[in-house]
Symmetry: C2
Subunit: 309 residues, 2 copies
């Protein structure tokens, strides 16, 4: 199975309001809820593609119960979340019906105790025994050491399990030094890591810092990958419009799916780009339309070259 | 015991953010939660004053479980909430640290089925057997008929139990016609009911529509009461500044407390005005400071006259 790690799982709540105005009172016309956090989103897409996937990370309190209840209803996703005494965070996306804009409110997440962090590391080591690949995704909740991902990368690598890291800031900086197989920064994360706003230069620099492959997401323009096999650029047929929520997580799922299916890099990038674009174009945030995905698979352009063997 | 009815109970969530800006992403620095809905707030204040109080209304889903867990921790409040298949609503108050302003997002509440509404009416009739007074508070959730409060008023009156109604709009209009003992509209609710923005005139008009007594809350200026015993105005020592959240619910609790203790109207109004002002001045929204309350009890001015017997 593919293992996805979401240390700061969430209950993602979406509200629709007529028009959001600070200092006013608003009647919410529509409420939707679903389990969230980047690794949970990645798992949902992987399961939809037919992969066997297990989610781990932390869960607790009343919102944690809702996350687990709703996860149980997602076919193909096994729940190996580790219980904690704190409460799983909520994220609230307030969609303004008038402008279509989204305003986001993110709770910080539960404080993880040293004993809980230790229990998680044990659970993670046990889950690796049956994992073919691992994705480490998203922010760290309070209490988890900033070097957490570096340690989880090393544990996976010591067992020869390919590991993808998708985070930002100092956890990314430290995690990269532990030599993950793949990182998937967006342009901002890449610039923060390397100091460069020039995508190719920054991507190459990030690889020199320790990542086996760097797949930079360039938003509507697709993906840029620098790997030990070569470098490629994958571009959707048209710049992608729509809701970017979850598009990055779908790209991660595409990369893992291609890795699990032993595809060469250009085909992995095609899959990731098509999934990402199909997610942005979906009317439901974070979901992807299978028909759009399958059509895009035929139309993503990949340019670049393999290095001489 | 005193019975408070909250058909649309809520989990009241307060978020602190640095500065709320539409279309931006915000990290919430502090999250607090407590059981809410007007009748629940009234019950909490009554219990703090030493009254035995029971809450009823609807509760359901994951937020309903949290409401019940937290209510169980409130000394003196008995939980007689009726379970429903829908999910208790959340209300979210986003406090802007920069301006101190609050932006409110209110979920609509669960849809109540006819069978659930019928089950509630049975439960209510049973609870009345041991009630010395009833308060009917707040908005109606979807599915509850607009004449709901009128029916609940009649049931209480047919058993000789004094009933206070605190709602707005059409449910208030219909409820008043069923002749509740007390209504406590604010200036906007009174104007909507009567068409008049002149407080004394509107209060007298509301009483002619069927209420035994009308206690109009005039915000920082205190209360205006027109009753069958006379008319009075109760004024706090200084116009009340602070957070009005819950101040109206504390006024309702003061009126019920004075009714239960068989106080004459001027003393009931003193209690309600002091509680309301002590709630507005509290640093915690909806709580009241006992010291401030007891000091204000000595300083509220009541003017007016009893009618000749």
């Amino acid at each position: 199975m593919i293992l996805t790690v979401t240390l700061n799982t969430a209950l993602d709540i979406t509200y629709r309001v007529r028009s959001l105005r600070p200092h006013a009172s608003h009647r919410v016309s529509e409420v939707t809820e679903r389990p969230g956090g980047k690794g949970v989103n990645v798992a949902r897409v992987l399961a939809a593609l037919g992969h066997e996937v297990t989610v781990t990370g932390f869960t607790g309190g009343a919102t944690g119960r809702v996350v687990r209840e709703q996860l149980a209803a997602v076919a193909g996703v096994a729940d190996a979340l580790v219980p904690v005494s704190g409460t799983t965070r909520r994220t609230i996306a307030v969609v303004d019906d008038r402008t279509g804009d989204t305003t986001q409110l993110n709770e910080p997440g539960p404080v993880i105790t040293p004993a809980e962090w230790s229990a998680f590391q044990d659970a993670y080591a046990g889950l690796l025994a049956s994992a073919s690949a691992v994705a480490l995704c998203g922010s760290l909740p309070p209490g988890v050491p900033v070097g957490a991902y570096a340690g989880l990368v090393r544990t996976a690598r010591s067992r020869g399990i390919p590991v993808l890291l998708d985070t930002s800031g100092e956890p990314l900086r430290r995690g990269v030094a532990a030599r993950p197989d793949i990182i998937k920064p967006n342009a901002d994360e890449l610039a923060e890591l390397t100091g460069s706003h020039e995508p190719l230069r920054a991507t190459q620099d990030a690889r020199r810092r320790g990542a086996g492959a760097v797949v930079a997401s360039l938003g509507p323009e697709g993906l840029l990958a620098v790997t030990r096999d070569g470098r490629w650029r994958a571009t959707p047929p048209l710049p992608v419009r729509g809701n970017p929520t979850g598009a990055g997580d779908s790209a991660v799922a595409g990369l893992l799916s291609g890795l699990a299916d032993h595809l060469p890099w250009p085909d992995r990038l095609t899959r990731a780009t098509a999934l990402s674009a199909a997610t942005a174009q979906s009317p439901v945030a974070g979901e992807f339309d299978r028909g759009v995905y399958e059509e895009l698979l035929q139309r993503v352009a990949v340019s670049g070259e393999a290095d001489a063997a």
